[in-house]
């Protein structure tokens, strides 16, 4: 595989890799480093790429593994800076923007507080739109575990959102 083919096939998934690494690490710089590491790793093994059925899922799996290695090396949990740099786009008044930003921050914290697997499954399904099978491939879980984790994650998020709504915090 030459560099041009590599750029055409692998580079388009770079932002998905970045978002997933960011979700796992909570740091934009670390996520960027991980994506670069992933791309170099994939490039080094480019002769074997034809044997991989779903390259995007494989890249996501490598991203996950390298992110978890990095977390282990740093001996920290990802939520420390998870939602730093979150911004609100769109046509909103200053007050609406502040409220929306606050609301997004709360949901971000809520997502970050989920157990690791639930957080990863929910991100891959609800942000990236992967099928259950693809999520199972990426996270090296069986399909039932994927469904159970997603169900628990959504139930937990729903309960938290209801609490926020009931106490008028949104």
């Amino acid at each position: 595989m030459n560099l041009q083919t590599f750029q055409d096939r692998v580079f388009p998934v770079k932002n998905k890799l970045f978002r997933f690494a960011f979700r796992l690490l909570g740091s934009s710089d670390d996520a960027k480093d991980v994506v670069q590491e992933v791309l170099i790793k994939v490039w080094s093994g480019r002769e074997q790429l034809d044997q991989i059925q779903n390259m995007e899922a494989w890249c996501m799996r490598v991203t996950r593994n390298l992110s978890l290695d990095r977390l282990r090396a740093q001996q920290r949990r990802p939520e420390e800076s998870i939602e730093r740099g979150l911004y609100v786009q769109g046509d909103h008044s200053p007050l609406e923007s502040v409220e929306l930003s606050e609301s997004m921050k709360r949901i971000g914290e809520l997502m970050a507080s989920l157990p690791d697997k639930q957080r990863q499954v929910m991100h891959l399904r609800d942000v990236e739109g992967y099928s259950y099978q693809e999520i199972a491939d990426i996270l090296e879980l069986d399909m039932n575990q994927v469904k159970v984790n997603l169900f628990r994650a959504r139930q937990s998020v729903r309960e938290q959102l209801q609490k926020i709504s009931a106490y008028g915090l949104s």
């Binding site: 932002n15 978002r19 960027k32 170099i40 929306l100 997004m104 997502m111 729903r158 959102l161 709504s165």
Partner: protein
């Protein structure tokens, strides 16, 4: 799809993980719109959060920087240079081996000169040598013939003994 009840049902199924990817996409689209009912606002915020997450991207200069790094590591011309160097190393090794073998063989030939010389340049000498050789073969053949006659004697004796034994058994 965008009627209030349909969205409510779809959302309920979403929380229970009973929706397909297409149905979830429909929810994403709906919650990006305007005039969301008050009781769906909390879900709307969640779906807006997902959409906002999707907007997170690497900086523009990321791709050129990585491309440069890939080229530096094992890309284009560099990889062909590496391959050429390796091939040249192997070729040089083989050449040294061939030359060394040639010289060693030359040295061995010098150390052990051939003792038997050809005689075809002197016909008389060749005739004498051939004669000697044929005489030697003739002598050896004569000796062998003499020894073989002894074997013949043994065979005849064996036949006689077997013949007598056969007569006895028939009686």
């Amino acid at each position: 799809m965008d009627s209030r009840n349909q969205i409510g049902d779809l959302l309920e199924r979403y929380w229970k993980c009973e929706t397909s990817l297409e149905e979830e996409q429909a929810l994403h689209s709906y919650f990006q719109g305007e005039n969301i009912p008050a009781d769906l606002q909390e879900a709307a915020r969640l779906f807006q959060f997902f959409e906002m997450e999707k907007q997170k991207k690497l900086e523009e200069n990321f791709e050129p920087a990585v491309t440069k790094e890939l080229q530096r590591r094992r890309g284009g011309k560099i990889i062909s240079l590496v391959t050429m160097t390796q091939v040249a190393r192997i070729a040089a090794g083989v050449l040294v081996l061939v030359v060394a073998t040639f010289f060693v063989r030359q040295e061995i030939r010098k150390s052990y000169p051939q003792e038997v010389q050809d005689t075809y340049t002197d016909p008389q000498l060749a005739f004498e040598e051939t004669k000697k050789a044929l005489q030697m073969i003739g002598n050896t053949f004569g000796k062998a013939r003499h020894e073989a006659s002894k074997i013949k004697m043994f065979n005849e004796a064996e036949k006689k003994i077997q013949g007598k034994a056969a007569d006895k058994t028939s009686i």
